[in-house]
């Protein structure tokens, strides 16, 4: 076999191999989320039906400083309500929480921001627990 023929034969293998390798590199990289599951527990007060409808992590960069909640106080169920949020990691360990905020609420829809302490990386938060509970007097805890 002559040299030119061998070169042509080599090229016939070599070029497709490079193309195939590039295609494999580009297409077959799987994207795996760091933490596939995130759980939000939205509390509903059993005695009044008042309930939390929204929970949102508020970030500064990638740090959670506070949690914004929206909640509905059921008609005819005004009273003192305590609100609180807690953040847990993937092992179920409490990593941050807000203080218990208590005050009088008339029926309606509310949104408020609860600061959490300490500030934690959002990537360490696997579950968010919210609490809304009517209490007789303030201060009180969830």
């Amino acid at each position: 076999m002559r040299t030119k023929e061998l070169v042509a034969l080599a090229s016939a293998f070599f070029i497709p191999s490079i193309v195939l390798s590039v295609v494999i590199t580009i297409n077959q990289v799987a994207i795996l989320p760091n933490r596939p599951d995130t759980t939000y527990y939205l509390h509903r007060d059993a005695s009044t039906g008042s309930r939390i409808t929204v929970a949102q992590l508020l970030l500064t960069g990638s740090t959670v400083n506070s949690v914004r909640i929206s909640y509905v106080i059921s008609p005819g169920q005004g009273g003192n309500y305590v609100r609180q949020v807690s953040l847990y990691n993937a092992d179920g360990v409490l990593v941050a929480s807000s203080s218990n905020v208590c005050g009088w609420r008339t029926p309606g829809t509310y949104s408020e921001t609860l600061a959490v302490s300490p500030a934690v990386s959002v990537d360490s938060v696997a579950s968010v627990r919210t609490c809304l509970r009517r209490v007789g007097t303030c201060p009180a805890t969830c």
Binding site: I24, A30, L32, P33, T38, T39, R44
Partner: protein, 129 residues
């Protein structure tokens, strides 16, 4: 001299041919093979994405959908699933969406519909479809 060069060129060509064949074989093996890594299977490479589920919203007294806000450090198409448990009622919904580093809001219908008559657990799973 000339004969030596010709012989050297042939050797080079043969080496190049063997190399090319080995690359082709390796590429084929990689293409059809599988590697399990970090929970993945049947894939060659794994890129870790920081997926963030930043917001969850449910409607009023009846949970017929869940609005989720999510982002990912690696832009791409993801399967977003929601598993809702309210007392004895469990429901599920999913959608496929492109996630980027900017949070994307997704409203995902769930079926069956659950009454929001107990504390609700909303579990959001984000995976590659």
């Amino acid at each position: 001299m000339l004969a030596g060069l010709r012989f050297g060129g042939q050797v080079f060509t043969i080496i190049l041919l063997l190399f090319s064949i080995s690359v082709a074989v390796f590429s084929t093996v990689v293409a059809v093979g599988s590697v399990s890594q970090a929970g993945g299977s049947g894939v060659v490479g794994v890129a870790k994405a920081d997926v963030r589920v930043l917001r969850v919203q449910v409607p009023g007294t009846v949970i017929s959908s869940v609005t989720v806000s999510a982002s990912s450090s690696i832009s791409g198409t993801y399967l977003v699933e929601v598993f809702v448990t309210v007392g004895a009622c469990s429901t599920y919904g999913s959608t496929t969406s492109v996630l980027t580093s900017t949070p994307t809001s997704l409203t995902i219908p769930v079926s069956p519909i659950c009454n929001y008559n107990n504390p609700a657990s909303v579990r959001v799973r984000v995976t590659q479809p």
